[in-house]
């Protein structure tokens, strides 16, 4: 218990002192996770819409594949990304290994199936009257897509929160392709792993609390957004 209290007071101390390595890890985490989520959403929502909305040959197969990808462990994604980005790998020439971009790539692989699967489920559950209503009002296919996504925005927000939770807390990818390089690719989770590895448990807990605070802020601002919509 004392470890926990020490961790908490150290968390506040760390944040207050403006420790550059801590802020660098926070910035790296926020930056890379936000980009990963943004790309996952931009790619995942239309794909999820197509998967949930249209009927086509092989739809069930794709759904099964997407659902299976949900269970992919982050270390496996990290390993695959490493073999791709390594100089001896297929994408080695782009020099992406040990960069935030490489982490973002892995995290998109992690987040995309979540967004696709949950968007598809949301779109499938949408009121059957929506489509004839929108077409009857003169909407084009693209407008149908946008309006449908807007109709299920609460569900999509839950999907985004779920994906963000998985992205921001993952460690396997960040460690494998980021390399946990101080001031560059060290994220909060890899920093926690490092500090734990060094036996600095209180620092680990402090960083864990920072991660928790980030998650809290994300959820608070999202529920504020939700209230704004509900009005």
């Amino acid at each position: 218990m004392s470890l926990f209290i020490d961790g908490f007071s150290q968390a506040i101390e760390l944040l207050a002192s403006g420790d550059p390595s801590v802020y660098s890890a926070i910035t790296a985490t926020l930056t890379v996770s936000s980009w990963s989520l943004a790309v996952s959403l931009i790619l995942g929502m239309p794909l999820g819409f197509v998967l949930g909305y249209y009927n086509f040959l092989g739809k069930q197969v794709i759904r099964t594949v997407v659902d299976t990808l949900l269970a992919l462990p982050t270390v496996v994604i990290g390993l695959i990304a490493y073999t791709l980005f390594s100089q001896s790998g297929a994408l080695g020439e782009f020099d992406l290994l040990f960069s935030l971009k490489a982490i973002a790539f892995g995290q998109i692989v992690l987040g995309l199936p979540i967004i696709v699967a949950l968007t598809a489920a949301q779109v499938e559950s949408v009121d059957k009257r929506l489509y004839p209503t929108l077409i009857g009002l003169g909407a084009t296919q693209k407008q149908v897509l946008l309006t449908t996504l807007s109709e299920v925005k609460f569900g999509l927000m839950t999907a985004a929160v779920a994906a963000y939770g998985r992205i921001v807390t993952e460690i396997g990818i960040s460690m494998m392709v980021g390399g946990n390089i101080k001031y560059h690719t060290r994220t909060i989770t890899t920093a926690i792993a490092l500090e734990t590895g060094k036996g600095e448990f209180t620092t680990g807990i402090a960083l864990g609390m920072v991660l928790f605070i980030i998650a809290l802020m994300v959820n608070i601002s999202l529920s504020a957004l939700k209230r704004g919509w509900m009005r």
Partner: protein, 340 residues
């Protein structure tokens, strides 16, 4: 008078099951057409095809002489449908009403036009910011109608617009609908269980039954159970013990539905000498309603629990002194019954 819609050999099937089959149907510009038919008669499917929300499995739809596939988005947008139980977007009333204009990119004086459309259905400016979730059934229906009226459509298709709404809303909906007709000469196609309304308002009536057009008028349905005897006759026994006997009955089983056009039902004064020969049924006049041109009267007669509709010339009503509540003889031309 120009032809607006033409349907040729239309068939619609869902998973191989036929739900609509129309050999030929033409609808003229600027008319009000009433559609009769029970739930599942194919009305909604026909409306979806007419509004280009859905396409028929087979056959061709022409609009203004052009085949549906060649119609421009712009032309198609002139046809607007209010579906049965319309869906409101999870947005404010304002956004719901403005949606159609927004997808058209036509947002000049948007606010003003939204308020104007709301006024048409008896709602006011202060209603606009309300969220979709805080509307009664009648208000939702009126908002949905306002969202269609704002588009000043060339054709407005209304699928049961007054079902399940309060009396006040129903009245406002009816008024707004005809205002659209007056203002923009909109062609109206309406389906409703409110037969009085349709009888009063429509230039033409189309009846659908099990996916087919059965009559361009009012149709009565006779439900079983039918008791068939060995000589091929059948009869229906009404709740009050009266019997309707049909010789050489073509009912395929005891639950068959017989369909009878309104002009095959005649009403006479009680014990009129004409009717006695035809072994009439005894009924009570429920309602009398004058039709649009003022020459005919729509009569609803109740035989035990079954309501039948027919039309008589105005002078016959005077001659027979038919008034609601009056007992009458009802003669049914059983040979003209269509069986399903």
């Amino acid at each position: 008078m120009s032809e607006l819609f033409r349907l040729e050999k239309i068939e619609k099937r869902y998973n191989g099951r036929g739900v609509l089959r129309i050999e030929d149907l033409s609808i003229d510009d600027g008319k009000i057409i009433g559609f009769f038919g029970s739930n599942g008669s194919g009305k909604s499917t026909l409306f979806n095809i007419l509004s280009f929300v859905d396409t028929p499995t087979e056959g061709k739809v022409f609009y203004d002489g052009i085949e549906s596939k060649k119609l421009s988005m712009e032309t198609k947008r002139g046809i607007v449908m209010l579906p049965q139980n319309p869906y409101l977007l999870k947005r404010s009333v304002f956004e719901n009403v403005a949606y159609g204009l927004k997808v058209r990119g036509d947002i000049v004086n948007l606010e003003e036009r939204v308020y104007e459309a709301l006024n048409l259905v008896g709602l006011f400016k202060n209603f606009a910011p309300r969220p979709w979730s805080r509307l009664s059934g009648g208000e939702s229906q009126r908002v949905a109608l306002a969202a269609r009226l704002i588009l000043k459509p060339k054709v407005l298709i209304l699928d049961e617009p007054t079902s399940g709404v309060d009396v006040g809303s129903a009245q406002l909906i009816k008024e707004a609908t005809f205002l659209a007709k007056e203002k923009w000469n909109t062609t109206l196609m309406i389906s409703s269980h409110d037969h009085n309304w349709l009888n009063l308002a429509c230039d033409r009536k189309i009846t659908l039954f099990k996916g087919e057009i059965v009559d361009s008028g009012v149709v009565n349905l006779l439900f079983g159970p039918w008791r068939t005897d060995s000589s091929g006759n059948c009869e229906k026994i009404f709740a009050d013990g009266q019997r309707l006997k049909i010789f050489k009955c073509k009912a395929k089983d005891s639950n068959a539905v017989g369909m009878l056009s309104s002009d095959k039902i005649r009403v006479y004064q009680k014990n009129d000498r004409v009717s006695i020969e035809k072994s009439p049924l005894s009924g009570i006049v429920k309602t009398l309603q004058i039709d649009k041109n003022g020459e005919h009267i729509h009569v609803e007669v109740l035989i035990a629990e079954v309501l039948l509709r027919t039309t008589i010339p105005l002078r016959k009503m005077h001659r027979y002194r038919l008034y609601p509540g009056e007992s009458v003889d009802v003669c049914i031309d059983t040979k003209s019954i269509f069986w399903y």
